[in-house]
């Protein structure tokens, strides 16, 4: 099983990416998507995910909203803001640069 910190530095990127594909997801859905789409390789721990969500909300990249589910319970869903889209772009390109650089190192060494 991957370590919780296997997502170190990339959790924001993943959350933003997932929300850009599919807005209005709640925390658990984001978590399961990360897990599912990475083929069970990546796993966001609850202890990291929620603080990250709140940090991003604080930064203005995502916005949260309370919705009432069919069972009458409230749940909190997140979507990307304009700032978030910009952030996603820059994070994505940074990721590309970093991974490319890492790959170059791996190839040459």
């Amino acid at each position: 099983m991957p370590k919780p910190d296997s997502l170190q530095g990339s959790l924001n990127l993943l959350v933003l990416k997932i929300l850009s594909r599919r807005p209005r997801l709640h925390g658990y859905a984001i978590m399961s998507r990360i897990q599912g789409m990475s083929g069970e390789v990546l796993r966001a721990e609850e202890g990291s995910l929620y603080p990250a969500l709140h940090r991003m909300e604080e930064a203005g990249w995502i916005r949260a909203e309370w919705v009432t589910k069919d069972n009458g319970r409230r749940t909190r869903v997140y979507e990307l803001t304009a700032a978030g889209k910009k952030q996603l772009g820059s994070e994505e390109s940074r990721w590309q640069v970093v991974t490319a650089a890492v790959n170059r190192v791996l190839r040459t060494v």
Partner: protein, 884 residues
């Protein structure tokens, strides 16, 4: 950092944390719905969150839990330092106890509303102005006819109630042998109804019990009297007692809480005002007037109406003032009527002790502040010792308020332990002080209930004190910087500065207390050492009453009988004992001239009285057995000075003027030295003594129903003869009965009761204040030597002489001491005018008065400084430096 603290740091506020909870809850549900194991899902949140989840609804309990932990920890801290803790607690307890006692007394005497309906509507009538002898005065006595007119004048706006001064009187439920004492108050029949009181048993008076003079021989007992005298026997209703020559029937018992309207006296028996012999006299002022102003009625118009009515009454009466000058009459009529709030009742004791109690309250409050400063210094010193512990707490995540709580809880331990002991102290000391106020034969009774007022005061005081001495050290301790503290090098001077400031404050308060105590002690000294002019030693005074007025010969016969009793040296008769409270004054005319405004004081005495009292003759002779009133008189020096320009008055004569044109002529046959007559504080009054044998209007000897036997005994304890003399008086003539026996010494001392109380208590608190300050000073010096031993070691290693070290250690503290003492004495001189009325022949600006406290403090401070200084100069540089 844990998840929770991150979340909590990110988002503040209760609502937000609730939302987070809700979000996490919904996450959990989702997870479980997706088929995850609930326990596993919950575990995924980590332990911090789980804990948070569990304690979500019990945050209060968590706080209480931390409080409990702090309390246990604080207790251990106290127990660890048994001696210092005990010293802190005891000094605080003493101060808290004293403050609570003072509050109990002040509350009971001055603040507590009477237990009647709407006490805030009660007002007392008083008169302010120039009285007959030309001095300004405020007094509150009224004549019944004036009261009646005033009552009618304000009918509808206010109800006036007449209440006589509570008075100790003799009454008997059986034979003449069984006379006993009781406090009697004449009251308006409608008083009980107006006060909204219900009887405990029987009935209370109504207006119809107070209509015609002498026609309502009924009595209502106070609950207290009913309980003590009759054991709450309901059959007491209908019983009769005899007072003077009248028989009274008991008709009811007043409710338990109502003890009369005079705080300091518990009335035993209430009688309708119409039974007072002065009910029809315009010239007897014997009652207080209370006004119950109806709700919504303005006070000033009522006052004006009363003022006008009173003035009209006195104007009518002044028409018969033949011997008074126009000025005197004008002054008399221009007296202003005052209407003063009287929710707490009115009594002489209130007037006598108001400023004394306030002064004592200020003294004990100062002592409390001194004790607080001590404890604060102690806590500060301890906080220094615990800086590392605090730093450790901060570094492992304790918040600032958590530390404040920790230190405050420890302070609260001190505070509440001290309050508990102080409470016990207050419990016993307040009644003790009331007993100190009491002369033996005239016990003042101040009810001192312990109720929410007293408990609330105690609680507020304790909390206030805890905050006072605990907060500064707590804030200081919580502001600890872990890095510097763990390194062991926090700025030690800042701590010392606080301690030094506290020392200065302490010394200032202490010198203020000592200064005031000095004033009170000097007052008492001067007052009790003031010569009275007569010898009180071995003298007994027997206040004696006769069933019916008896001729002077029979009184003389009893005196003769007493002279034969073994142990009796001399016996004389007088109207009253000197300084005994009785007085008789009149204006005097010499050679038919109009009188000046100085009143002369008179006393009827038998031959041998001057000898019994050891009042020396300057000239002339004593009375002879055949001398009568009017006719001859003995004058004192002040009398000769006032009316005869200081010339020898022997052989000269004067006339005593009565209110309405009556005059009696006397020839002065003797001149005696001045004696104190009414009050030992006053300058010697002009006095004249006339013979006990007195001729009435028709030339027959006038019979008397009361007089005082002055008995000089051979024993140094004259009271040992009291019961024998009491029996012998009755045996000599069965019509005579001794109503009260007092030693002359006791009478003299009764005038200085307040001063003695003030002197004793102020001295006590002065000693306590000094002790606390010395302990505080010692503690701070000792602490600073301890802290600076490295520095001192270096200095000494470099060759500093011992004197230099001693000077360095003490310089700061002694400059603080000097500043404190100066401020304290300046405060003392400035505040002395508030206690001026309590002082006697003592000037606050006297050099001695100022030097005494200053020198005392200096001496005490030197004493306190000695051990730390010795310790400082004995520091061995080698050891100290090696230690570090």
């Amino acid at each position: 950092m844990s998840l929770w603290s991150r979340l909590a740091n990110l988002l503040r506020g209760d609502r937000l944390s609730r939302e987070i909870d809700e979000e996490l809850q919904s996450h959990l549900e989702e997870a479980i719905a997706q088929g995850r194991d609930p326990a596993e899902a919950r575990r995924a949140f980590g332990s911090a969150l789980r804990l948070r989840e569990e304690s979500r609804d019990v945050r209060l309990i968590a706080w209480l839990d931390s409080l409990r932990a702090d309390a246990v920890f604080g207790w251990r801290q106290l127990v660890k330092r048994k001696v210092t803790s005990a010293a802190a607690i005891l000094s605080l307890a003493l101060a808290i106890g004293a403050c609570t006692s003072a509050f109990r007394l002040i509350d009971a005497l001055l603040l507590r509303p009477l237990p009647v309906a709407d006490p805030q509507q009660l007002y007392a009538l008083a008169r302010q102005g120039i009285v007959i002898d030309g001095t300004p005065k405020t007094y509150d006595s009224w004549a019944y006819p004036a009261f009646r007119l005033m009552r009618a004048a304000v009918k509808g706006q206010a109800e006036l109630i007449a209440i006589s001064y509570a008075e100790r009187t003799d009454l008997t439920y059986g034979s003449d042998e069984e006379f006993e004492k009781a406090y009697r108050q004449y009251v308006s029949g409608w008083m009980f109804n107006s006060f909204g009181l219900r009887p405990a048993v029987g009935r209370l008076f109504t207006e119809s019990d107070d209509l015609n003079p002498g026609a309502h021989p009924y009595a209502v007992l106070s609950f207290d009297y009913w309980k003590h005298r009759f054991g709450q026997d309901p059959k007491v209703i209908g019983r009769t007692f005899r007072m003077g020559t009248d028989l009274y029937e008991i008709v009811g018992v007043a409710p338990e809480r109502f003890t009369g309207t005079e705080p300091g006296t518990v009335t035993d028996i209430f009688i309708p005002t119409m039974m007072h012999p002065g009910a029809v006299r315009s010239d007897w002022t014997w009652l207080r007037t209370l006004a119950r102003v109806k709700p919504g009625v303005a006070i000033e118009p009522v006052r004006e109406k009363l003022n006008a009515t009173s003035r009209a009454f006195e104007e009518e009466r002044a028409k018969s003032f033949l011997d008074m000058s126009k000025q005197q009459i004008d002054d008399f009529l221009n007296q202003k009527l005052l209407l003063e709030p009287a929710a707490a009742g009115v009594s002489e004791m209130q007037e006598d002790y108001r400023s004394a109690l306030m002064a004592l309250a200020v003294l004990v409050a100062l002592v409390l502040l001194i004790a607080c400063a001590n404890v604060a210094n102690l806590m500060t010193a301890q906080a220094a010792a615990r800086a590392r512990e605090m730093a450790l707490r901060v570094s492992i995540g304790a918040g600032r308020w958590r530390l404040v709580q920790l230190v405050l809880v420890e302070s609260a331990w001190l505070g509440f332990l001290a309050a508990a002991i102080g409470g016990l102290l207050a419990w016993s000391s307040a009644p003790l002080i009331v007993r100190m106020i009491n002369p033996r034969d005239n016990p003042a009774r101040l009810l001192l209930p312990v109720d929410w007022r007293v408990l609330g005061f105690g609680l507020a005081l304790t909390l206030g004190v805890t905050i006072l001495f605990g907060l500064a050290p707590a804030l200081r301790a919580s502001a600890v910087k872990p890095v510097s503290a763990l390194k062991g090098g926090e700025d030690p001077h800042s701590r010392r500065r606080l301690m030094h400031a506290l020392i200065a404050a302490q010394i200032a308060f202490c010198s203020l207390v000592l200064f005031v105590a000095g004033l009170f002690v000097a007052t008492f000294e001067r007052l009790s050492n003031r010569p009275t002019g007569f010898s009180a030693e071995r003298v007994l005074t027997l206040e004696t009453v006769a069933e019916r007025p008896q001729p002077p010969d029979l009184w003389e016969q009893v005196a003769e009988h007493l002279r034969a009793v073994p142990g009796v040296e001399r016996v004389a008769l007088a109207r009253s004992a000197l300084l005994g409270g009785w007085s008789w004054n009149n204006f005097v005319s010499v050679n038919g001239a109009p009188p000046n405004r100085v009143l002369a004081y008179f006393m009827s005495v038998s031959p041998g009285w001057t000898e019994a009292m050891k009042i020396p003759f300057l000239d002339g002779r004593d009375f002879r057995p055949g001398d009568t009133y009017p006719g001859v008189a003995i004058a004192n020096q002040a009398f000769a000075k006032e009316y005869f320009n200081g010339e020898n008055p022997i052989g000269k004569s004067f006339e005593m003027l009565f209110g309405e044109g009556g005059r009696s002529r006397f020839e002065i046959v003797g001149l005696v030295r001045d004696v104190a007559y009414l009050d030992p504080r006053e300058p010697m009054l002009p006095q004249a003594y006339y013979p006990f044998r007195s001729l009435g209007d028709k030339g027959a000897l006038r019979a008397r129903d009361s007089a005082t036997f002055i008995v000089r005994t051979t024993s140094s304890n004259p009271l040992a003869l009291a019961s024998v003399l009491r029996r012998e008086v009755h045996r000599a003539r069965s019509e005579f009965r001794v109503s009260n026996i007092r030693t002359q010494t006791e009478i003299n001392q009764s005038h200085t009761v307040r001063e003695r109380l003030l002197a004793r208590l102020a001295l006590f608190f002065g000693v306590v204040a000094l002790l606390l300050s010395v302990v505080g000073l010692y503690g701070v010096l000792d602490y600073s030597v301890l802290q600076r031993r490295r520095e001192i070691g270096i200095r000494m290693a470099l060759g500093a002489p011992a004197g230099d070290v001693a000077r360095r250690v003490t310089a700061d503290v002694f400059s603080m001491l000097l500043a404190g003492a100066l401020v304290g004495l300046a405060l003392g001189v400035a505040s002395a005018r508030y206690i001026e009325t309590l002082l006697y022949q003592v000037k606050p600006t006297d050099l001695g008065m100022l030097a005494l406290p200053a020198l005392t403090i200096l001496a005490a401070a030197l004493l306190a400084a000695l051990p730390p200084v010795i310790r400082a100069v004995r520091i061995d540089p080698a050891t100290t430096l090696r230690d570090e």
